[in-house]
């Protein structure tokens, strides 16, 4: 049987294909985030949409929240269920030697890759007078749980970056440059790519993650 050639696959934060999943006032596009989709398709990536953990857990009319509010056993268990649901598709690609990347949503308490939003004292009546959360260099809860599930299956870490939609000040042009730089870097780094597919189940690849959480296009990660 002829073996299909390796492919390039982008795992997409749910809301990059569906802005209706965003928390109220968080949608910057009507539906599809076209700059992301266009950039990935132009470079030959297949798209694989991840589930939205917040929508299914807290609903379409949920309040805004920060990392600490979602860092609970119940929410992490929910994220693990979602990770177990999508992981078989990701595993299939990795074991076939496909190049898999992850595009998250920087600033998101759940889907942040380089940055998440933090404010340990948020809680109670949702009447914060202004956007007083902080952006900190850390994964969101959902991405942490998804990566844990992939590691549990003996899969290598997936190179990841984030579209900076939830960073407080959204700069589409800068975000696009960021994404293109990330993808250009992948092209350079993976010149002889596809030669090392994920090992069969049971073998431990265990390479370090080794990503640089540099702030996107010059933003100060500590700024709200």
């Amino acid at each position: 049987m002829e073996q299909s050639p390796p492919r390039k696959v982008a795992l997409m934060a749910h809301c990059l294909l569906n802005q209706n999943a965003k928390v109220c006032e968080g949608a910057r596009y009507r539906g599809v985030v076209n700059p992301v989709v266009e950039t990935l398709r132009a470079r030959g990536y297949l798209l694989l949409q991840l589930p939205c953990p917040e929508l299914a857990f807290a609903g379409a009319r949920r309040w805004w929240a920060v990392y600490e509010q979602y860092d609970t056993p119940a929410y992490r268990a929910h994220c693990r269920r979602l990770a177990q649901a999508i992981a078989p598709l990701i595993e299939r690609h990795l074991r076939a030697g496909d190049e898999v990347i992850l595009i998250g949503l920087d600033g998101s308490p759940s889907t942040g890759v380089r940055f998440t939003s933090s404010r340990p004292d948020w809680g109670g009546r949702p009447n914060r007078p202004e956007d007083d959360w902080e952006i900190v260099p850390r994964r969101g809860v959902w991405i942490e749980e998804l990566e844990s599930e992939l590691a549990r299956r003996g899969l290598p870490p997936v190179p990841a970056t984030g579209w900076a939609l939830d960073m407080g000040r959204f700069d589409e042009a800068g975000s696009r440059r960021d994404l293109e730089q990330f993808l250009d870097g992948r092209e350079r780094d993976t010149a002889p790519r596809h030669e090392n597919p994920a090992p069969p189940r049971g073998e431990n690849p265990a390479p370090p993650r080794g990503e640089n959480p540099a702030p996107p296009h010059g933003e100060d990660p500590a700024a709200p």
Binding site: N18, C24, A27, R30, C52, A60, A85
Partner: protein
């Protein structure tokens, strides 16, 4: 801060999110559905390729039900002749949605055996006109 969401979305089979390689670009036998959805302001709920995806379909059904119960217009777009009722895992979704108190969304099937341009126009016309009744929109979309 404003909110730009379009309140409309489409369930799409994997084959319409990632058209088979010989069809791209642009697809010869299928319209660029993702592009049309973007132009018309729809979001996308991507379904997995053919196969057994019980847990993932349950997760997707949770999301569809949540949207359907809160004022969002959901449409399903499949490809005629694809397994699973157009590549949409239709029977499985019907069961899952029924358990969640939600109805199957309206389904539109694209014909891969006719001119892609005409199929694209047919779909674009549907996308432009489809939405919830005005009273439902007023109830939720404030």
């Amino acid at each position: 801060m404003g909110d730009a969401r379009g309140w409309r979305m489409a369930l799409l089979p994997d084959t319409l999110v990632n058209p088979p390689r010989p069809l791209r670009p642009p697809p010869a036998a299928l319209p660029d559905v993702l592009g049309l959805l973007e132009t018309c302001g729809y979001g996308v709920l991507q379904l997995p390729p053919a196969g057994e995806h019980r847990l993932l379909l349950a997760v997707i059904a949770d999301q569809i039900a949540e949207y359907a119960h809160h004022g969002y217009a959901v449409l399903a777009i499949g490809v005629r002749g694809e397994p699973g009722g157009g590549g949409l895992h239709w029977r499985r979704l019907a069961t899952l949605l029924r358990r969640r108190g939600a109805a199957l969304p309206p389904r539109h099937l694209i014909r891969p055996d006719v001119d892609a341009g005409r199929e694209g126009q047919r779909l674009a016309a549907l996308l432009a006109s489809y939405d919830l009744p005005a009273a439902e929109q007023r109830r939720w979309r404030v």
